[in-house]
């Protein structure tokens, strides 16, 4: 049930986001032309913000993972797949 709700939420967001984009874009007056420079640079800045944020989260997670589960970590415990002569 919970998974169904989560899946529905994701699907809703997938549909709702593009729709909101469309609705906002439709408000452009016929004589207020888009400024190419503004639109293109704004898109660039948004994409860079997302890219660097995701990059920081992913690389941070990996660095933490490697550090936390290194063999020399006193807290590291062998899994059942790694034998018994630890």
């Amino acid at each position: 049930m919970d998974k169904t709700i989560a899946l529905m939420a994701v699907l809703t967001i997938l549909v709702v986001l593009p729709t909101i984009q469309l609705v906002f874009a439709a408000g452009t007056d016929a004589h207020e032309y888009v400024n190419r420079k503004v639109e293109i640079w704004n898109l660039f800045f948004k994409m860079m913000t997302i890219a660097f944020t995701v990059g920081a989260v992913v690389s941070g997670t990996l660095i933490w993972l490697v550090w936390r589960f290194r063999e020399s970590n006193p807290n590291a415990k062998p899994t059942k797949y790694e034998g018994t002569d630890w």
């Binding site: 998974k3 989560a6 939420a9 994701v10 967001i13 997938l14 986001l17 593009p18 984009q21 469309l22 874009a25 452009t28 016929a30 004589h31 032309y33 888009v34 400024n35 190419r36 420079k37 639109e39 293109i40 704004n42 898109l43 948004k46 994409m47 997302i50 995701v54």
Partner: protein, 140 residues
């Protein structure tokens, strides 16, 4: 696997899907805004050849090396070439489109500032490519 929760994975998957959806929607929307010329846009034919630009207005008026247009109006460029490939570029208005033999490529813009702006070729087109320049003159 008792005592193990999959929720972090599901949240991660959800966040990735939402981000991708947002990125896709945003990029698609900007591309749509930038690509589609308004119906009232005046068509200007742009012909590139080694090593100058020729412009033909809707009323048949031709200009070479200079293009006179009006501020606040929308213009659609129909760009082609008579010889090798060129690229039509008005740097200050972020207008850039290839001029390819046998094709008519389109790009539109609406100048919001009066003044003179450089036009240049942005595809290496031979010995005098560096000098394949023009001037965009936007009048009030």
């Amino acid at each position: 696997m008792s005592g193990h929760s999959n929720w972090p994975e599901w949240i991660y998957v959800g966040v990735v899907i939402v981000l991708l959806a947002y990125v896709g929607a945003e990029a698609w929307n900007v591309e749509r805004l930038v690509d589609r010329a308004p119906a009232e846009a005046e068509v200007i034919k742009v012909i590139g050849q080694q090593w100058f630009w020729t412009f033909e207005h809707a009323d048949g008026t031709k200009e070479v090396g200079e293009l006179h247009i009006k501020k606040g109006h929308a213009y659609k460029f129909e760009i082609t070439t008579k010889d090798v490939n060129h690229a039509f570029n008005i740097h200050d208005y972020v207008v850039l489109q290839d001029a390819v033999a046998g094709r008519i490529n389109e790009v539109w813009f609406a100048p919001d500032k009066a003044g003179e702006f450089p036009i240049q070729c942005r595809e290496y087109c031979g010995l005098l490519h560096y000098n394949m320049r023009g001037t965009l003159i936007v009048e009030e």
